[in-house]
Amino acid sequence: MKPSLRQFILAAAASLAVNTFAPVPGLAQTQTASSKSDQWIHVRVESKDDGGETVRVNVPVDMAVKVLPAIKHQPLHDGKVRIDNGHMDDVDLHTILDAVRSAKDGEFVTVQSHENDVRVAKSGGYLLIHVTEKNHADKEAKESENAEKHSKHANSRESKVEVKVPMKVVDALLSAGKDELDIVAALRALSSYGDTELVTVKDDDNTVRIWVDSKNVSD
């Protein structure tokens, strides 16, 4: 075989091997990067009705940080959500936040009534909001035509909402200025925290959980 032909075949075989087995650019490097401490935000909704629907969403926080600014669809733009002025005219969120930030740990709001228990507190650098809606089925039952049917279960029905957000995340969320929530900044702040249970909603029909951890799958 002539040397030029042999070289040609060798070059062709080498190119073929390189093309076929070369890793996808960036994959190896990023898998190493992702193994360090990438945080994932998880949402799980479980319905207890007959259909037994379950929704699980797992998204890398970094991916959300990169993708959100690309979405330009009101009220979301550049990773920020505009708050409707009509709902915020009488409330200065930044002033309230400043007050909460500078305050010591403790309970700021406690409301206990027959219908609801509300607790807003600051503890260990976290803002905690707990709301328990009691006997909401009782109200529904009174309003509906099937009052008797519903009232049988009224006493056992309650809905619980628990929100736990690091204060730094709240700061970041409100860092965009008045009338805007900076979702991307909040996610960046969130990614620096470890495993965090953000939101839990439980009632007789549904369970909703939103949390952050370093696993790429739900529990």
Binding site: L16, N19, T20, T30, S35, R56, K66, N216
Partner: protein, 146 residues
Amino acid sequence: MILLAKVGIGLGATLALTAGWVLHEGVIRIDVDEAKPDGAHVHFWVPATTVSAGMHLAPRHSLQQAAAQARPFLPVLREVAKELKKYPDAELVDVRDKSNHVRVAVRDGRLYVDAVTEDGENVHVSFPAETLSDVADGLEEASPGI
């Protein structure tokens, strides 16, 4: 004779390189199965490289129409494609009830969409995440500056 051999080897090497490139770029796989007696069974694999070629061949006005509708989401598609390649195997979305199951997952830089419905219809689509970017580029090219 030697000339013919050279031409043959040249063609063979070109084909091999093309096949290597197509394999490297990945394939789009579509499987549709209907679980009923006369149900359809569609299974095909298409090289992902044909997406950009196909977009050049598609009717211009249809592409422009699609581009006009999709334009707000093109940057999102590109970002998603870029980011998906960075993450290891993951289940992004999983929705199920007693009779239906929809799942979107990423595995080795490929996006998998699987749907199993109550009627016994199974749809499985998988494609390289990079294809999303190619589609965005094709649509952008079809109607620049809309």
